[in-house]
Amino acid sequence: MRISALAIAAVLAAPAALGAQWLNYPTPGIPRLADGKPNLNAAAPRLPDGKPDLSGIWQGWGQNGLFFDLSKDLKPGDVQMTPWASGIQAQRERRDHVDDPLGFCMPPGVPRIDSVDQFKILQTPGETVFLHEAQVGMIFRQIFTDGRPLPTDPEPAWLGYSIGRWDGDTFVVDTNGLRDGGWLDTRKGHPNSDALHVTERFHRRDFGHLELAITIDDPKAYVKPWTGKTVLTLLPDTELLEAFCDTHQQTLEHRDVEPAPPEPPSPPLQSK
């Protein structure tokens, strides 16, 4: 009798758990504690070639407030804006970041794309792929590891162009070709220009934690490069879910804000 009640409960529970694209499904092959919970402090996995395996679903790094202000852990003076960047940033913050393209279902750029929602890393010999389940849609990011160089005169793109290499156990991703006037964070609205070069250094400290240092090198927007640091956490026993920004109009019906004065494009790069 007791078993049959449990059986009914299990049958009732199953459609909810299985219906949502494996939202709750034990990830095979991950280290577990005696009670069956994932052991996030176990050693980081490695591929047959000895390199760390970054595979897994990671919670975006914006959870600890860096989504709102990428410079929040830095000292004043670490982030020195040029007059162009300073003017744009002041307007964005004064308007309480209502003009953030992310709020209009546009994709975030690099590095902010890795701060939102969650993403899966797939590591193959010539390419590492980030699959993002973001509220603004499903977005893929390609990081080529086949030895190609960054483009010298890239057509600007939301996610730019990324190449990766190993520095010991650290996966170093370089990105250029980003769109002018991008947003590095949300509440502060730190801008970037089309001259931005992002370096992301990923280090899988243990099974469940991925250390990340993000260096912003953008001579049109910042007087000197600056680096934000964070740690991403593995999301075990789940999968990515479908996400389309398909009913955004409903949100916009309630949005009543004066249009922003247009932001000026970045000035030409001064030769040093």
Binding site: A16, A20, L102, L241, D256
Partner: protein, 136 residues
């Protein structure tokens, strides 16, 4: 342990861990539409649920205790995925359910709010709404 029992145990454990690890939702448009300095708490009956991206909406009929006037309020929550990752299913809240909602009012003064917490009156269950304002 029978396979069925084991399956149920795993399911419960997984669901529990998901509930407690509910990710903060950090959408962006909050300040464009809502005023964090205007909190509300309203109780009403659900009239419609729109399970949609990037925000799920639901509507409740709220009766004014003094005048008896009924107003239909719309409420914004997080994305369906954020809600599911916080333990919701599409059946967590149904038309006709009585719910108490806590959140922030719309800037434009319309009967519209950003829901932070939804409480099912019948069971007292608290469901966090994956609000763009962040969770308590």
């Amino acid at each position: 342990m029978s396979p069925m029992l084991r399956r149920l145990t795993i399911m419960v454990a997984v669901l529990a861990s998901t509930l407690f690890a509910a990710p903060l939702s950090a959408h962006h448009s909050f300040s464009a539409e809502f005023d964090a300095s205007k909190p509300f708490k309203l109780t009403g009956k659900v009239t419609k649920v729109m399970w949609a991206n990037p925000h799920t909406f639901f509507y409740i009929d709220v009766t004014d205790d003094k005048t008896g006037k009924v107003t239909n309020w719309s409420m914004e929550m997080g994305s369906p995925n954020a809600l599911m990752r916080a333990g919701w299913t599409r059946n967590a809240m149904k038309i006709g359910d009585a719910v108490s909602v806590e959140g922030s009012l719309a800037r434009d003064g319309s009967p519209y709010g950003n829901a932070r917490v939804v409480i099912l009156v019948a069971t007292g269950q608290r469901l966090f709404a994956a609000s763009s304002q962040g969770q308590p």
